[in-house]
Amino acid sequence: MAAEEEASRPFAGLSDVSISEDIPVEGDISVPVGPSRTDEEFSTLDEPVKETILRDLRAVGNKFIHVLYPRRSSALLRDWDLWGPLLLCVTLALLLQDGTADSDLEGGPQFAEVFVVVWFGSIIITLNSKLLGGTLSFFQSLCVLGYCILPLTVAMVVCRVVLLAAPGTVSFVVRLVVVTASFGWSTFASTAFLSDSQPANRRALVVYPVFLFYFVIGWMVLTYFPVKNRQP
């Protein structure tokens, strides 16, 4: 009994407190909201579709600029997205169609083959760099590899234009120079992003597959040759 009394001593004053029933207990519990980001997330449902699409397109375009002028920035890594790589892959695969029939085995890569090379290749390189101890996440690495195909896609457009204008040895030399330059650009841009995340002694092991990947895509771009006479 005495122990109970002592235990209740600190709370002794509370026994006098009473709340009469006719005073309503009310108030405001307000949680401080962060900057307007929370409001934005709710209001994206209400914004026009055009704005949503334009925002994504602007993000993709921003990353294109970061690829074309590779400098130390984290835009590609922080806000990764895979729309850009998808757009580039589809464009490249469409441009590589050379008008051969499905039954002609000797032609250039089919649409599906380009897709498999680009995406499967990127996934394997990402797994390789992760197994070697890389710190980039899976999708960040896919994002970087996909976006750095941009110079080769630009080279593909240039090659198609050159082939229309001037067939022959001159066009081959021009195409070779353009493809080599863009292959070097792609490799340089992607290793600028990827190699920073690797321990120094394994960098060569990570860079080589990237080099091989863009080399293969460059070879596909360079060997593009439209069939002149279509079979009916």
Binding site: E106, G107, E113, G133, N201, T223
Partner: protein, 274 residues
Amino acid sequence: MTSPNDLKFEELEDAVQLLSADPAASTLSMSVSHAPSSPAGGPDVKVDLSEDEQAQEESAEVLERVRGSMMPFPGRSFLKHYVRTSPDLYGPFWICVTLVFSMAISGNLSTFLSQTGNPEYHYRPQFHRVTIAAAVIFIYAWLVPVALWGFLTWRRRAERQIGVFSFLETVCVYGYSLFIYIPTSVLWSIPVQWLQWILVLVSMGVSGSVLVLTFWPVVRDDTKVMAAATLATILVLHTLLAVGCKLYFFQASEKLAPSPTSKPIHASATTGFL
């Protein structure tokens, strides 16, 4: 189950010391020392992500193994000398991928070079060769080691005294032995027949001897018939790969089809010939 994030190298110090002290020792000691660590029959190979001194030699190690695969010495087993107890899958896998593309690209180039004088020739990229090369090379470099490892494991149960390599070590040896074909395939694009066949013989000799020197200490304790049969099978498969690749990807100019703008009958004849 190990997730990719906690893969690590296992170093068996005593096994390494034993082997470096006596490189000619039979591999029985290697398999015995493996037994405590993994009763399944082979060491678990893991890539250590946190040990810096292990990671120091990563790139240099791969290069050293590649160099070793090109210079076989009698009495020096590739496995014991270069791989020891830590087989890696990086080398075999990327050597196979590189070989696939180098075969396809050089084959395309050799077709082009051998047909430049032909006015009817119309350049084709021949991308389907990549698919075929990938199928052939990956089947050879991954299924043949499975079969060989399975066979050697079965023989070990029958005849106690022969040694056996783990599956990863077998794949590792086969993968690195294919490295010599990469520069060979680049040189094969020169459209000179006798040079191509000399290259076939040289590369078959080098990579075949790497395989034979590695597997000889394992099978020599078996009965003579089985030992000879095993080595003969390894060599025959290797020969088939080399000669088959040479004949398919680097065809002599007189066997090539005329340009695809001709009738479809020629195209089907070509695919029939291929």
